[in-house]
Amino acid sequence: MYVAVKGGEKAIDNAHAWLKALRRGDPSVPDLGLEQIGQQLALAVDRVMTEGSLYDRDLAALAIKQARGDLIEAIFLLRAYRTTLPRFGVSEPLDTARMSLKRRISATFKDLPGGQLLGPTFDYTHRLLDFTLAAEGEMPAPAPESEPQDEGPVPRVADLLGDQGLIERSAADSGEAAAEAPVSDITRDSLRLPAERDLRLQMLARGDEGFLLALAYSTQRGYGNNHPFAGEIRCGQVAVAFTPEELGFEIEIGEIEVTECQMVNQFAGSDEAPPQFTRGYGLSFGQSERKAMSMALVDRALRAAELGEESSAPANDAEFVLYHCDNVQATGFTEHLKLPHYVDFQSELTLLRRLRAEFFAKRTQAEEKEAAE
């Protein structure tokens, strides 16, 4: 009888042993290697690295394997590991104009310096299940290669517009002071409101893809419209540079793959500012294009108030968006309802029984009074 709540320790051990066995599945089926996950589930790895805030393909692949393909669980595993790592400092800003491009498209210009580069994308594929993949899959024919074009940097669309003053300057190129200002770190401090854009972008960068996608979508359907154009989406390898204090000069410490999205948005101008386009910015690890685009739209939506626009839609509300975009927080708190709540529930039961007793006593009293009359 009372044993129902006993034996938690043994139950946990047994449950975890079962989970381990299920994770492995039928032992006659070959074990999934991390290399296979890294290569063949590369976009899952990209998402886990982005929202896990840690660029490490092997660890992300391990997390996905351990989480049985539950990506939010994998993100959580990566985050929990990440907090135990020492933090050396802040890298130099990435120069995405110097990216070695895998993909680069602009929806605002038909042709532009550097050209349109479609790259490996699901866009324009017909979404038909490919049954040859199920039948052990033959090796796909090698993709045709062309001679690499000249190596020079490919200017960003936003910079091309900026040169003509048609788009607002971003903080980093509006003077030394802005570039030198210390960067906040959401992984070290608690969120204070109102949050500056650096903090907001950090939170959006690690925010849940699904949540940001829905918010971005809502801005396009009339809840805080800001007339976006995909100025540019680019994906490729970019060098990370770091200046160690003891050296005092910049050294390149590696390359990472990122996707960058610059949204170009209408802005009518105000008494102080001439009419010009405004920016929404998105950046993600790997090829997480949907995430980068959603982030850029939400970033711009969160700037509505600062630009003097109406800001009553959910996506305009920084406190709402920022406090609810982190899926590790959201999943933990939503799922904590699984934990025992006997005590609180007992308190509620006690109160409810009392209120019901009073209700029925009052009714009986009223009925007796009626009968007596």
Binding site: K6, F76, R79, T84, D189, R192, Y323, H341, L351
Partner: protein
């Protein structure tokens, strides 16, 4: 080999958190003790258990625990509920501390939803896991607003809310997380303990630390702090009572859990505080199933 040596071999630091983080949390704790009831923002870290499952309490405990401590972990008053077991195992593995179920033997008690029935003593620390630290949250959703309300001591809405209960139900309908006023200044959420436990906070000789991981807040009640449950002169504060006594130990002064026995309405009431219940049963000559103690 215990899990402890495995974790340190894997390069995790003592009590999991790195020393910089512990220092940051200790600074927040000192500030919290200096301003009783005030919610101190802190840079809460991701922990290897989910947000909402005690990460705030775990971080507070990790920041104050040492090898000579004796740790007790309870959830719903019980030492053997699954999450309590999980957190106790975590510290046994990462902080290599002795654990106990006996309230009076513990130097640190981490708890969710209960304050032990056995009165706490000077030198003991109670660490409470807090899901939502803001007492005004259901009345005002915005953190930017509620911080202002605390600064201005603008607590009228809470009194109005309690009065609305009186008007509708004839009594205050808050049963847990019942708001308290700390030293006559800060309105505080006692974490979702039943209001039955609220009087135990008042002038307690033990230090009480509250950690909210997801919401990134820490607050504290130093020993002997005045903690007053909100009420009205004509409707004084009162706690839950039961018509039954504990079916196992016969206690009439403890918080009782209801256990459903069958599908025909059969039920029994037992102490929610398993240590209290076991000790009483032992005193009555019944076997005491305390299996912990010593290094886990």
């Amino acid at each position: 080999m215990t899990a402890a040596s495995r974790l340190s071999e894997q390069g995790y630091t003592y009590a999991y958190l790195d020393e910089q983080t512990k220092r940051m949390i200790r600074r927040a704790l000192l500030k919290a003790v200096a301003i009783p009831g005030y919610q101190v923002p802190f840079g809460s870290r991701e922990m290897p258990m989910p947000y909402g499952w005690g990460t705030g309490g775990v971080q507070v405990t990790a920041a104050i625990i040492g090898p000579s401590d004796v740790l007790k972990v309870i959830d719903q008053g019980a030492d053997d509920t699954t999450n309590a077991v999980s957190i106790r195992k975590f510290f046994a593995a990462t902080a290599e501390v002795a654990t106990t179920t006996a309230t009076e033997r513990a130097s640190i008690v981490q708890t969710r939803h209960r304050v032990p029935e056995t009165p706490l003593q000077e030198g003991q620390i109670l660490v409470l896991q807090v899901p939502i630290p803001e007492p005004l949250r259901w009345l005002e959703a915005r953190e930017s607003e509620t911080r202002k309300m605390h600064a201005l001591e603008e607590y009228g809405v809470m009194h109005v809310s309690l009065y609305e209960d009186l008007a509708r139900f004839g009594r205050i309908a808050k049963t847990y997380d019942y708001p308290v006023l700390v030293e006559g200044r800060y309105l505080m959420r006692p974490s979702p303990i039943p209001k039955f436990d609220n009087p135990k906070l008042d002038k307690s000789p033990a230090l009480m630390l509250f950690g909210a991981g997801r919401e990134r807040r820490i607050y504290a009640l130093p020993p002997y702090t005045r903690v007053e449950s909100l009420a009205f002169e004509d409707h004084p504060f009162e706690v839950e009572t039961w018509e039954q006594c504990c079916a196992l130990c016969g206690a009439t002064d403890s918080f009782l859990d209801e256990v459903i026995m069958d599908d025909r309405g059969g039920r029994m009431f037992t102490c929610s505080d398993t240590d209290y219940c076991n000790q009483r049963q032992a005193a009555q000559g019944k076997p005491n199933p305390d299996t912990l103690g010593g290094k886990a």
